[in-house]
Symmetry: C2
Subunit: 446 residues, 2 copies
């Protein structure tokens, strides 16, 4: 009996997950490798960071998703190298390094925060790309407020309650909006036991003269209005040149004291892309692929989603958005099955339903099919329903919905516990430095 084709999917994000789900139905063996044992519903990370949702509401264990598919395996670990000639990847899992062979490889490792070479920002600012990022930011904000409550110096107190988001894209907007709501509806009430009362400032900074660059001007202006009606200060033409732990300096010389800088100014492809040995796209570091999602000059290797670089009919790279990643994941899976069956491969065609961004309670903008413009309450309802439907796993949907309804009617946020300070690593169950190659049952190269 011939061995089943071995397919490795690196990354359990939206693209990787959809690819694996399509492959699961075929007569192949799939191994998903991810640094986390869960898939993250990234669009709601800002809600975890602002105490509205538990991290487990936006994270779903990969093994649960594939519980009924015995041809799908999961490995917790970090891929440290790809050897496309030998058809294998190296996986660091705890202190053990595994060598895994593949017949086909899908690289779906996504993107990371782009600090554009600003080392201080990288060290000090908070990204918002993972569940850990979100939990870390939540702990930090709560701790800043705890310190502010007892700080004797007024400037120090204000610095501790000044929260700045950099970047006028959807993540910057929704984070700034949610931060102001967290302060206005929750923290303000809970820190009012002593005088002078704590005042929070939430600032959204954008380097250009407008928010939400790809949106029509009406929606851009609506977004600014909605943010300002919440109480968020919007600063245009503001470029951060220097980041220190307790302050930032702008290009025009202004200094703002803050302990909390959230960096939502851009993303770039994950660094694993460099291991392929191909010339990556400039600036974004994405892997150039054929319209079939095959990596150029690397046979049997596919790349999808944020890490893949493919130009559309207008010569623009496809956006680093979830729908594109999901559609590319599906295509990559189908094309691999076509390769196995010796059938011709299909090219990528993007089914783009439009874009939307949320700003806060009853505040959002949406541009459906690039035709219908919505803003305010209606856009928010559309945003809410869409994300709820997209949340993986029935339990998560129930809990998320319940949390949202709860927050909406009570203005309460109960997920306000600081846990990280006491989390320290425990003794490790693996033998240090051992190199383990896999045993007979699966994944050995035919």
């Amino acid at each position: 009996m011939a061995q089943k084709p071995q397919i490795i999917v690196i990354g359990a994000g939206f693209g990787g997950l959809i690819a694996a789900q399509h492959l699961a139905k075929a007569d192949v063996e799939v191994t998903i490798i991810d640094r986390n044992n869960f898939h993250t519903f990234t669009p709601l990370l800002y809600q975890v960071a602002t105490c509205a949702l538990d991290s487990s509401s936006v994270a779903y264990p990969v093994r649960s998703i594939f519980r009924d598919h015995h041809n799908v395996h999961f490995m917790l670990g970090e891929v440290t190298d790809i050897n496309h000639q030998e058809h294998c990847v190296m996986v660091q899992s705890g202190e053990i390094t595994y060598q895994k062979w593949y017949d086909y490889l899908i690289i779906a490792v996504g993107s990371v925060t782009n600090f554009f070479g600003n080392k201080d920002a990288e060290e000090i600012a908070f990204g918002l790309k993972s569940a850990s990022d979100a939990v870390r930011l939540r702990h930090h904000i709560l701790r800043c407020f705890e310190r502010a409550a007892w700080a004797a110096d007024e400037q120090e107190r204000d610095a501790l309650t000044t929260l700045i988001a950099v970047g006028g894209g959807p993540v910057g907007l929704e984070t700034a909006g949610a931060l102001h709501e967290l302060y206005n509806y929750v923290l303000k009430q809970e820190y009012d036991d002593r005088l002078p009362r704590l005042r929070a400032r939430v600032i959204l900074m954008e380097a250009t003269d407008k928010l939400l660059a790809p949106y029509p001007e009406t929606l851009q202006k609506s977004a600014v209005n909605q943010l300002e009606s919440l109480g968020v200060e919007v600063l245009f033409n503001a470029t951060v040149t220097q980041v220190e732990p307790d302050r930032i300096t702008l290009k025009d010389g202004r200094v703002i004291r803050t302990y909390t800088l959230i960096w939502a100014a851009g993303v770039k492809a994950s660094s694993l892309a460099e291991k392929l040995g191909v010339t990556l796209a400039e600036r974004s570091g994405r892997i150039p692929v054929e319209p079939t999602m095959q990596v150029k000059e690397r046979s049997h290797v596919y790349a999808i989603g944020d890490v893949a670089h493919l130009l559309d009919e207008k010569g623009q790279p496809y956006p680093m958005l979830i729908p594109a990643a999901m559609q590319q994941g599906e295509l990559a899976a189908k094309n691999i099955l076509r390769e196995i069956a010796n059938q011709p491969l299909a090219p990528f065609q993007y089914n783009d339903k439009g874009i939307m961004a949320t700003i806060g309670r009853r505040r959002a903008v949406a541009w459906l099919y690039y035709k219908v413009q919505l803003s305010g309450y209606l856009a928010w309802i559309v945003w809410l329903v869409f994300h709820l439907i997209s949340l993986l796993g029935f339990r998560n949907r129930v809990v998320t919905f319940a949390s949202w309804v709860w927050n909406y009617f009570t203005y309460d946020r109960s997920v306000r516990i600081i846990l990280d300070s006491e989390i320290t690593p425990r003794p490790n169950p693996a033998t240090p430095g051992a190199l383990q190659t896999e045993s007979g049952e699966a994944g050995v190269k035919a």
Copy 2:
């Protein structure tokens, strides 16, 4: 205008919280100091550790509890010293040390895991006394199973899936039962994609020849039967003499390979008790108190709950249980108000409603008012209803109930995400080493 009496409560556990709630209604200023910004519902920690509940479901922010009481303040920090002559405590909060003066002090710092001097156990074994403990244990177990899924060596694989609880009290029982359910209903299904399948062993070890020492023999035997019917191995007369990261050795020479040892063999008073300079109770390290809950030989200082040592009519110390702590907290608060009003103080009278312990789904034992013996399904319902009613905060009750119902009907546990590996401390907002004394508005000694 005379300044209001300043009362400091150290510890936001059950005793401290009840005391503060009673004081909140009086014309005094209360400051609660705790290492965490939340109260922990400790009886359900084992459910957090076994993936059934989110940590936020058993943790409630202290500031939320006292949101409507402007005379109650909260300080996040660790009390490092008590100066009973100067009437002040030192609080380490981040890198700042605060000095806080009191007119009355309530020490409600509870207990910690007692490793009975076994340094290796202290280093390697897992306690289950705090939300951090529970989350750490959860991450550890999930990571062990992930490693077991790819481990080539059979003995190593079995060691990774052998889970041992030490101590035949309620915590040991419920942890062992819940661990076996986690394996049997969830993990077994999710790790069955490769052969040989993972087998888990859950062992409960007890140094004497019976479980649940204070219970009648019928219930003790029922508990053993219920545990064994689940699949838990119960070892009597088993004393752990040596603990290593990958194995334990018993007194009789037996060696059991395991990476997961949960230490539920006993507790002792928190070490802050030593700072009072009084002679502590032998073995338990508890602070001797008068029947009024006043610390002997230390005026204006009260101690309550697990950290307080007081003998009942039979000459036995009151048990380290939540109902005792809550009743002592109420009494301490009332006695302080009586002291302020120059009224005679009242002595402690324990209203003891009985004891109960849960073992698993539809499995428990209860001894109500030391008269009615219940076991099995009925005892479990009593246990469930009692704990649900006791959970602080409406939202927590709703979420906890929903999670329980969910787990009961689906046998699913969705809170299975490993987050700790990426949680690293961020730059700290406080000036290193600064000593800050409080400013004028509150807490200055009159």
